[in-house]
């Protein structure tokens, strides 16, 4: 009994500690543009949101998608095209990107959830590759050149996003909202059902849940939020190219999530920060990024499967506290 209350107390303190850390993290992000190059920070935030959205599917539903580049890159094309060619405002362009990614997710998910596990991964990869070839040939994407020179525009007709600090705080706000939505989904009754599917799909079915519908819903939500990240990236960097829809991008987001910790809230954010930081460092050196990425993949899978945050949780929390957290 004493044992139980002790671990309960520990959950409470660790819960309070977590909130303090989250507040500190947000404060750090607010102060960051005065210390760190804002473009780098914004790139990191876009990829962090992308990785969190991906983790909603892999970490909390147990589905490994190898095709998330289609949503990220697809949304960035939609937004770039709407803002540049149709002259839409940035917020309308981003909404279009999110809706487009959600529809894309609905179609891809509809086919992919027909198989499980390793087949699911291969089907999503193949469908995303199909979308890649579509983007190569379609006229609105600009083919090999992509869409260049996308104006950032005026947010709600009021805020000029060409001002560096304005765009940074806009990106930060969207990032925080996106992560908050994911956190809400994960901790809702719906999120609990997703976790039960991850743990034991057959049991979830036998309890009366229509597993296919839940999987599809999770897939569409993950796609829409990945699209939000992609749309944001198009506004920040003012271009959309084939790189964002290519299969390498799907691999990158898996790596970010795996490195940070699959199934943790903070892990993908840290993973994204590390991978983007590494890419920036290697960009100026002679060492090819792909080799580094591949090596981290292999090391993570062989000896570091819980990821950075997962490893910290495993060491700091008692088993009971961990059970209470899950």
């Amino acid at each position: 009994m004493a044992e139980l209350t002790l671990s309960e107390a520990r959950v409470k303190t660790s819960g309070r500690l977590e909130w303090v850390l989250v507040a500190l993290g947000i404060l750090g992000l607010v102060a960051a543009p005065f210390v760190i190059y804002p473009i780098f920070m914004m790139k990191m935030l876009c990829f962090a949101l992308f990785a969190c959205a991906f983790n909603l599917l892999l970490g909390y539903t147990g589905l490994l998608s190898f095709g998330h580049a289609a949503f990220f890159g697809g949304a960035s094309y939609f937004t770039a095209h709407a803002v540049k060619v149709w002259g839409w405002s940035p917020e309308a362009g981003i909404i279009l990107g999110v809706v487009g990614a959600a529809i894309l997710g609905l179609v891809m998910g509809f086919f992919a959830i027909r198989r499980q596990g390793i087949y699911f991964a291969m089907i999503t990869l193949a469908l995303a590759q199909m979308f890649f070839f579509f983007c190569v040939q379609a006229s609105f994407t600009g083919g090999e050149d992509g869409i260049q020179g996308v104006p950032r525009g005026m947010l709600f007709g009021l805020v000029d996003l060409h001002v560096p600090l304005n765009i940074y705080y806009f990106v930060l706000a969207v990032f925080l909202i996106g992560v908050f939505i994911i956190w809400r989904i994960v901790n809702s009754p719906f999120g609990m059902i997703l976790r039960s599917i991850r743990e034991n799909e057959n049991r979830a079915t036998s309890l009366g849940y229509t597993v296919a519908n839940y999987k599809l819903a999770a897939f569409v939500m993950s796609a829409a939020l990945s699209g939000l990240a992609g749309s944001l990236k198009a506004i920040v960097f003012q271009f959309a190219t084939l790189t964002d829809v290519a299969w390498q991008m799907s691999g990158e987001v898996i790596l970010m999530t795996l490195l940070g910790g699959i199934g943790t809230m903070v892990g993908p954010i840290i993973g994204a920060g590390l991978v983007v930081g590494l890419q920036n460092t290697l960009a100026t050196s002679d060492f090819p990024v792909t080799i580094a990425t591949g090596l981290i993949f292999m090391v993570c899978v062989l000896i570091f499967r819980r990821g950075i945050v997962g490893e910290i949780y495993a060491r700091l929390l008692t088993p009971a506290a961990r059970a209470a957290k899950d």
Binding site: L64, F111, R114, R115, G117, I118, Y119, A121, M122, I123, L125, A126, L127, Q129, M130, F133, F134, Q137, W247, G251, I254, L258, P288, V289, T290, I291, T293, G294, L295, I296, F297, M298, C300, V301, L302, R305
Partner: protein, 295 residues
């Protein structure tokens, strides 16, 4: 000029031949994937990189050591197979007890490393590999012109595929392999060295990819990226066929190659997505795949 569906018959047969050649490589690669998956439960994402490795071994042997096509046809698969065996022993063997998705992720990382190394040293442009003199030139079949080497590739891949299938279905080692696919623990209890069997299987699968690579070297350009785009198509082939049957993987490979060739004749814009479209249709009608047993 003879026409078929409003298209000159030469063009029609020419594209069909291209389809048959692509199909030969799809068949050999999906065969290797199916063998590895059957026993190891690992989807070998590095299969495309190993195919590229086979082509590069042939290219480097010729460029630096003056060793020609025929010896390379043996040496390249051997080297790729040995590398595969080392990888299986050092890494894959540690991943059998956990979720098979980790095997996919590990081999994905491996593919990135292998391709990254070759891109670093050889750039992204293709290197030509000349057709061996014995198979150079072409013959006129009356209705179309057939380059000898292309005909050779189709025949060679048929022999390799059928030979592998017969070896698995008819030999003693093949029967061990099939038994271990069904129930590894029981086979181990009968005194068969299953870990060794797993190692050899991965070596064999890798060697098949290497052989496909050296066969492909004179047809396509030898480039570091030749495998990565191919492997995704082969994944779709594998989804269509279902990995339950070796023969199914082979047949599906040829069929989809031909379907791709036909699309090139009638609607060229869709030729590089037609296999993915077929995959989607098969998923709707028969989610387990055409020859699949597992759901």
């Amino acid at each position: 000029m003879t026409m078929i569906f409003g298209i000159p018959i030469q063009a029609f047969l020419g594209q069909l031949l291209v389809g048959l050649i692509n199909g030969s490589f799809y068949a050999m690669l999906s065969l290797g994937l199916a063998i590895i998956f059957g026993l190891l439960r690992v989807i070998n994402f590095a299969h495309g990189a190993q195919y590229m490795l086979g082509a590069f071994v042939g290219y480097l042997l010729l460029a630096h050591l003056g060793i020609g096509y025929w010896p390379a046809l043996i040496i390249a698969p051997l080297i790729v197979g040995i590398i595969g065996i080392v990888i299986e022993r050092l890494a894959l063997a540690r991943l059998y007890d956990i979720d098979p998705l980790y095997g996919l992720l590990f081999t994905f990382g491996l593919a990135l490393v292998i391709e990254g190394i070759f891109r670093y040293y050889f750039g992204v442009s293709g290197n030509p590999y000349t057709v061996p003199p014995l198979l150079a030139g072409g013959t006129n079949l009356g209705f179309m012109f057939l380059p000898v080497y292309r005909g050779f590739v189709v025949v060679a891949s048929l022999i390799v595929c059928l030979g592998t299938w017969l070896a698995i279905e008819k030999t003693r080692l093949g029967s061990y392999l099939r038994a271990a696919t069904e129930n590894p623990r029981l086979v181990q209890a009968f005194g068969v060295n299953v870990p060794l069997l797993l190692t050899l299987t991965y070596g064999l699968g890798s060697a098949l990819a290497g052989l496909a690579g050296i066969l492909a070297a004179p047809v396509y350009q030898v480039s570091p990226l030749m495998g990565s785009n191919l492997i995704i198509v082969v994944f779709a082939v594998v989804v269509v066929g279902g990995m339950g049957s070796i023969l199914g993987a082979i047949v599906t490979g040829y069929m989809l190659g031909l379907a791709e060739g036909l699309t090139k004749v009638f609607y060229p814009e869709a030729s590089n997505i037609v296999i993915f479209v077929i995959m989607a249709i098969v998923l709707l009608v028969r989610p387990a795949g055409l020859f699949g047993k597992d759901a």
